[in-house]
């Protein structure tokens, strides 16, 4: 399937729209269905689609492994960091009301940051699992 003209054209056409849709789902999670988990999975699906059409080495060049590792860790760091920030501002852990001048605004900001962290971690983990699985070659003893 690699390098087929029709698939390459359609992939080039569709992958940007899938990524934009993932961003829409991430940031529109406040007003409609969506949120961090869904957006993370959609971004991972777009990059896996790229890997299926263009080959895994090409995708490793576009999204290198160290980027995925950083994504994996920084998502949960953002989440816990919001909690620590609220503690430094004087309230309990993960009490978003103190993040802004008004409790409702603070909650909104806290939810935004927390969902961002969730989305980044989910993307990183899905991509890392795919890279680990798809990068293995067939070892001789499994051919029966």
């Amino acid at each position: 399937m690699r390098g087929d003209l029709v698939l390459r054209v359609i992939a080039k056409l569709l992958i940007p729209f899938i990524l934009v849709f993932a961003l829409y789902v991430q940031f529109h999670g406040d007003f409609g269905p969506g949120g961090g988990f869904q957006a993370g999975v959609i971004v991972a699906a777009a990059i896996i689609f790229h890997a299926l059409i263009y080959g895994l080495p090409m995708t490793r060049r576009v999204v290198p492994e160290w980027v995925v590792e950083i994504m994996l860790a920084s998502g949960i760091l953002i989440f816990a960091g919001v909690g620590v920030a609220t503690m430094l501002l004087g309230a309990n852990f993960l009490d978003y009301s103190v993040l802004a001048h008004e409790p409702a605004h603070g909650q909104h900001r806290g939810i935004f940051l927390v969902e961002l962290g969730v989305g980044i971690t989910v993307t990183g983990v899905m991509l890392m699992i795919f890279y680990m699985f798809a990068g293995r070659s067939r070892s001789p003893h499994s051919e029966k």
């Binding site: 896996i48 998502g75 699992i129």
Partner: protein, 183 residues
């Protein structure tokens, strides 16, 4: 009435897909049937008005899981090995457990009834004051990220641990992979 009909039809299709997964030998067909099962599950979740979960289930189950299973299938043989023993006793144990669980669900309150106990404690407060307190109209996101933020932190921690586990278990340097095969 029409909702019951749709639900029954979808659940029947899911049961048929599950039986087909259990009975098929060819693992490639099993993977595709698994993807079909996930897609039917996403549709049932949509009919039950759980749109967020349905979106996640469709993307993970019918999309990424299938690709991962196919990548795994590439590494091993694609025909299931014959079972060594007669599966009658495990089947009997499974049927007895299913019977006990089904008998247990008779004691639960009716499906979706607003008088059940879980809808009386904090849920009315979340529904009434969620949009004003958090400034976010979507109740699911408000409960997930604000009211039950600790649970979401734990969830992200679990996902992170899964990623770390996969890295620790499966990562190899490419050169040492070749060296191992030579020795």
């Amino acid at each position: 009435m029409s909702t019951t009909l749709i639900n029954t039809a979808l659940l029947l299709m899911m049961a048929v897909a599950a039986v087909a997964i259990a009975r098929t030998r060819n693992l490639f067909s099993v993977v595709i049937l698994g993807s079909l099962y996930s897609f039917l599950m996403a549709t049932i979740l949509l009919v039950l008005d759980a749109v967020d979960v349905s979106m996640t289930e469709a993307a993970v189950g019918a999309g990424i899981s299938t690709v991962l299973l196919l990548a795994t299938l590439y590494l091993t043989q694609s025909e299931e090995a014959k079972p060594h023993h007669n599966p009658l006793i495990p089947l009997a144990v499974a049927l007895v457990t299913v019977g006990l669980l089904a008998y247990g669900t008779l004691g639960l309150p009716e499906f979706g009834s607003p008088d059940s106990v879980i809808h009386k404690h904090v849920a009315p407060r979340y529904l009434k004051e969620g949009p004003t307190e958090t400034g976010v109209p979507n109740i699911v996101t408000a409960v997930l990220a604000s009211y039950r933020g600790f649970d979401t932190l734990g969830e992200v921690g679990v996902i992170f641990t899964a990623g770390i586990g996969v890295i620790v278990l499966l990562r190899r340097r490419w050169r040492s992979d070749v060296d191992e095969k030579d020795t």
